[in-house]
Amino acid sequence: MTPTKPLPDLNDPLTRPFWEAAREGRLVMPECTACGYVQWPPERMCPECQHRERRWREVPAKGTLWSYAVYHRALDPAFADDIPYAVGLVEIDGVGRKMYGLMLNDEADLKIGAPVHGVFVPVNDEVTFIRWRIDDEAQSTTPAPSAGGRAD
């Protein structure tokens, strides 16, 4: 039996607002109330000025695919049923911070630099994950290149 996928700790005050917003279909990131630095992932202090208060700023669940990795082995057995699965690193529009997340596209459609949008996927009553999908108009229509020696 495949083990259960990891879930976030919803009681952690550091990240609880993020998960609450995700459940409502919004992407938020902590912004330092002293210097305005937008921090991702959240830490307990601003790395710029060491201030500890933050406001949760809504940012667009849109970005650019900066890079990706495609898992062909279930290195975490909880993801065995998803093999092969792609993890993307998405640069969020406007703030320039990067987030990791599962990609909803097939490997052949993934392209660095492509515009992507967040898809809010509830996994239970409390937790909604943000997955990412290449914008429809940016989907590749060309066949997948062969494995050896490709340049993409």
């Binding site: 996928k5 976030p8 290195l75 975490d76 993890v87 320039g96 494995a147």
Partner: protein
């Protein structure tokens, strides 16, 4: 100008590499230490400094665990985390230059293979976020880094494959190496993906083994039995802001290490005869070839495909097979090999006339250390 003021390596020792069932990391480390002392022609009573490293992802390997087996009470004794050979070497030089010790033994042992250590965990900061995304194992972020490199510079999987193929060619000449089966570039490309675009051959061996090194002053080194290998220059750079760095995966801070290393030594990449680049993944080798200036940024792929790092090439890299083919000792066996190459002891794989070696390590996305080693110094 290369000087001997930072100390000299006067002895190296290693155990067998591969599977050593039933031995603790401490026992393995001490067996390596005994071999290094014998190589140096020193009794353990000559050791007044000890540096050990914890085995990766374990609590084993502290100096306090090794002391009762080695049976010494050195004046200076300490432990670094996470098995970092290059950082340990710098610490030894610092201890000697600071007057805390005159002769330092560095030793490391691991039973990662026999203990079935799992490396399928998040690598980098913010491990919770990585785990939620399914981004476990160093192969994930390394795959992202090389995929980005491919996008920016047109690097191909075949070009990257030459890291592993070249090191396997070297490993075939090394009796200690775990993986010695011939592997052509076609064999490499025929391997299934592990985390695409990486294959199994792009990732470190997991093995048991021990390595030890003895460092002392240049003055003392002159009286010992083996040809001294001098610590000619050292540099480090951290990136411990980690995820809060915008370009974490590409590790541009490696260039800062290179700049300071070359400035300190007064030499450049063209003066280096052999290079030991820690290869937890093949991607790290490609990155270091570029940032240490052996080729331009983005030119690592063609540089590798031209064969410069292979036996007979102009920049032999990881001539023992490295972590991709020889063994997994967190860069320690790279140091063992570099010293033995510079002393001319490597038999079939000896690089003729090798006088200057680069020994460079990174601890993934956190920090890096590099040393220039040479048998010839002035003053």
């Amino acid at each position: 100008m290369l000087t001997g003021a930072r100390g000299a390596i006067v002895g190296v020792g290693a155990t067998e590499q591969g599977e050593i069932p039933g031995e603790s990391p401490e026992e393995i480390a001490v067996r390596a230490a005994v071999a290094a002392l014998a190589d140096a022609g020193l009794d353990k009573s000559a050791i007044d400094g000890l540096i050990t490293c914890k085995q990766a992802l374990s609590t084993h390997g502290t100096d306090e665990g090794i002391g009762p087996l080695l049976g010494i009470n050195p004046a200076f004794s300490t432990t670094l985390d996470y098995g970092m050979g290059a950082f340990s070497l710098h610490l030894a030089s610092m201890a000697i230059q600071a007057g805390l010790a005159t002769t330092v033994l560095l030793t490391y042992g691991t039973n990662a293979r026999s203990a079935r250590t799992s490396f399928a965990r998040p690598i980098g900061g913010s491990s919770d976020w990585l785990r939620l995304a399914g981004l476990v194992h160093v192969a994930g972020p390394a795959a992202m880094a090389i995929r980005r490199h491919m996008h920016l510079y047109g690097t191909t999987e075949e070009q990257l494959g030459w890291v592993s193929v070249s090191q396997r060619e070297w490993a075939q000449k090394n009796p200690l190496a775990v993986f010695r089966t011939p592997m052509t570039i076609d064999d490499y490309l025929a391997q299934p993906y592990f985390v695409a675009p990486l294959r199994r051959a792009d990732l470190t061996v997991i093995s048991d083994g021990g390595v030890a090194v003895v460092v002392t002053t240049a003055e003392r080194a002159a009286d010992l039995r083996k040809k001294p290998v001098y610590i000619a220059a050292m540099a480090q750079q951290s990136a411990i802001r980690n995820e809060q760095n915008p370009d974490k995966l590409m590790r541009p801070w490696l260039g800062e290490i290179a700049k300071r290393l070359y400035a300190s030594a007064g030499i450049g990449p063209d003066d280096i005869d052999i290079a030991y680049l820690q290869d937890g993944t093949s991607v790290w080798v490609l990155q270091m070839l570029e940032w240490y200036g052996f080729c331009g940024l983005g030119e690592g792929g063609p540089f590798l495909a031209e064969g410069h790092t292979r036996p007979g090439g102009r920049l032999p890299v990881n001539t023992h097979g490295g972590q991709l083919s020889e063994s997994y000792t967190h860069n320690w066996m790279h140091l063992y090999e570099a010293v033995r190459q510079l002393r001319g002891e490597c038999g079939e794989r000896q690089v003729p006339g090798a006088k200057v070696a680069l020994y460079a390590q990174t601890h993934d996305f956190w920090k890096g250390a590099a040393t220039l080693l040479s048998t010839e110094v002035e003053g």
